[in-house]
């Protein structure tokens, strides 16, 4: 049973035309389009149509509009009062040309130029922001005005203390595995004792700072970015500005200080735990005596290794914070915007940490 029927130049609709069969109606019309075009006139008889909804009206309007393009006028006949009311209420015929302003789409090269321009704009803003944070970071040490009281302690706990277990676990595993992989090679040369050189230097100079920074980028960088992005989007930052407060001082500084203090401490902690992983391999698998291990370590570790560790961790802490704040402040457009800035901040922070690590590695080589 079909509720559409085609008689000569008239389409007869029966029962109902709703969201359920509107598509079928359109298919039916396009199947019969050639005979409609032959007749050169067309009407739709609605005498037996009981119900129509906005989808049905839109479908009829679509047929009317498309036939008009082949200069065929469509006549609607015998609509009951109820159906006629729906036809008037939902009519989409007069809409075309009304102001549904679509933003102009950029051409390919225009888009490319726009991207490039945006990129440089972002770089410029990033540098301004870094300078701003550095300035307030230094000024803020001497003047507590405009900073949120007690927030530094809260942030230090969140960023530093709460990260101890995960940083400890990961550095232990890294130290342990690193030693295990090399131990076999060393043992075949009878150079067991050199495991100490290997693990002490690689942990302090490279793995300790790097692993800590990557964990912090994922853990605290994302928290910074998402918190600031949320504050931006819900106009909390604007509200602070109207209270004559600088959001950098009020919101960012406590986080910056907490990162600056926590990262080096966590890094040294990671160094120690990582070396303990190596120690475990040394005294079990390589059968070194604990005293031999410690003696050797005192011999090979120089101050420079520890300084490298700390300097790197300072740089990473600032990079992670600035990147998080940058993406937080650039967030726009609702909850989705917060998610996008958080993701971007983690990816960018990890990337920049690794690039900075390579550069510092070359400098301190």
């Amino acid at each position: 049973m079909n509720s559409f029927e085609f008689k000569k130049d008239t389409l007869v609709l029966k029962d109902e035309l709703t969201i359920i069969n509107a598509e079928a109606f359109l298919n039916f019309v396009s199947a019969n389009i050639s005979s409609i075009k032959k007749e050169n006139k067309f009407s739709i008889d609605l005498a037996n149509l009981r119900t129509i909804d906005s989808a049905g009206v839109a479908a009829i309007d679509q047929v009317i509009d498309s036939l008009k393009k082949s200069s065929i006028e469509t006549k609607i006949t015998n609509a009951s009062e109820k159906v006629q009311n729906s036809l008037t209420a939902f009519s989409s015929l007069e809409l075309t040309g009304k102001d549904f302003v679509k933003p102009r789409k950029l051409g390919y090269f225009e888009g490319l130029g726009d991207k490039g321009f945006n990129f440089f704009d972002n770089v410029k803003y990033f540098i301004y922001l870094a300078a701003d944070m550095f300035f307030w970071g230094v000024v803020g040490i001497f003047s507590k005005k405009g900073q949120r009281k007690g927030e530094f302690v809260v942030q230090s706990n969140l960023i530093g203390v709460n990260a101890l277990p995960i940083v400890g676990l990961i550095s232990f595993l890294v130290g342990f595995i690193l030693s295990l992989q090399s131990a076999q090679q060393l043992r075949s040369f009878g150079a067991n004792i050199f495991i100490v050189d290997l693990i002490a230097i690689s942990m302090t100079r490279e793995m300790g700072p790097l692993m800590t920074a990557i964990i912090l980028a994922g853990r605290s960088g994302s928290a910074i970015a998402s918190e600031i992005a949320t504050m931006k989007i819900s106009e909390e930052l604007d509200a602070l500005k109207t209270m004559a407060l600088n959001p950098i001082k009020y919101v960012v500084l406590p986080k910056l200080y907490a990162m600056t203090i926590a990262t080096p401490l966590l890094t040294i902690f990671a160094d120690i735990i990582g070396i303990m992983g190596g120690f475990l391999i040394g005294i079990t698998y390589l059968k070194l005596s604990p005293t031999a291990f410690v003696d050797r370590m005192a011999h090979v570790m120089v101050l420079k290794d520890i300084i490298t560790s700390v300097v790197k961790s300072f740089v990473f802490a600032w990079l992670i914070t600035i990147v998080g704040v940058f993406f937080g402040l650039r967030a726009k457009g609702g909850a989705g915007g917060v998610g996008r800035s958080t993701t971007a901040s983690v990816v960018t922070a990890i990337f920049m940490v690794i690039v900075a690590d390579s550069i510092l590695g070359l400098l301190f080589y």
Partner: protein, 246 residues
């Protein structure tokens, strides 16, 4: 009365889309000035320009006889310390309790001790009938309560000018009247100048001294409530008749 805010030929855009197209108006000391207009016509945008949150394409805005367009941040802060702002959605800091939110301006811009600050917070929260919500977090408040808490924060420092973006939207008529009475009290007792965005006819009748009616980026009408009621501009007549019970 002195003119406390002077706006001249203000033109503003969002990403190249013109929102305000040459607004000129003055706001006088100690009056309640109402910004009217259809949804999305740029009332909030106008407000944000007056408090320097947004930069206009061109035009001038003087607050306390100082040009704020292109002003240095520190100078703008000086001016903002004398202004209170109630945002359309409240904009309370979600990580702080209601009481702590009201305390922010007091803690940051005064050296009062904690006990005194607490006493002030309690008075202000009491004024907006939120004494019981002092230790709740903003997430635990209803929409109307958020607005009232934000109003308490806006008047924490007894500002000279108070900006309110739809203070009574989403409130029941009784609370809405209480807010209006509070605004009038602030105007009379503290000589505040109050700039309000609102659509509530009842509220306008209660508090308005002068009105601007925005339409398609222009100030269609600036004048007293009486003049507005007698105006023969079609949009304004419509506004004042459609909402009224007959």
């Amino acid at each position: 009365m002195e003119k406390i805010i002077k706006i001249k030929d203000l033109i503003t855009e969002y990403d190249g889309r013109r929102i305000l197209d040459g607004i000129t108006l003055d706001i006088k000391e100690n009056e309640v000035f109402i910004i009217l207009g259809g949804s999305g016509c740029g009332k909030t945008t106008l407000l944000k320009h007056i408090i320097g949150l947004l930069k206009p394409v061109s035009g001038s805005i003087e607050v306390f006889d100082q040009e704020i367009v292109g002003m240095e941040e520190e100078d703008l802060d000086e001016i903002l310390m004398k202004c209170g702002v109630l945002f359309q959605n409240g904009a309370l800091l979600n990580s702080l309790s209601v009481g702590e939110n009201v305390a922010i301006p007091l803690e940051q811009h005064s050296n009062l001790d904690r006990e005194l600050i607490n006493r002030i917070i309690e008075t202000k929260l009491n004024l907006v009938e939120l004494a019981h919500a002092m230790y709740l977090s903003p997430a635990e408040l209803s929409g109307g309560m958020k607005k009232r808490a934000a109003l308490a924060r806006a008047i924490a420092l007894d500002p000279l000018i108070l900006f309110c973006d739809e203070p009574s939207a989403g409130l029941d008529p009784i609370t809405s009247k209480a807010i209006d009475d509070l605004l009038l009290q602030l105007k009379r007792q503290l000589n505040m100048t109050i700039v309000v965005v609102t659509h509530e006819l009842a509220s306008i009748h209660r508090i308005a001294d002068r009105i601007v009616f925005l339409d398609q980026g222009k100030a269609l009408f600036v004048g007293t409530l009486k003049e507005a009621l007698a105006s023969d501009i079609k949009e304004i007549r419509e506004f004042f008749t459609v909402g009224r019970f007959e």
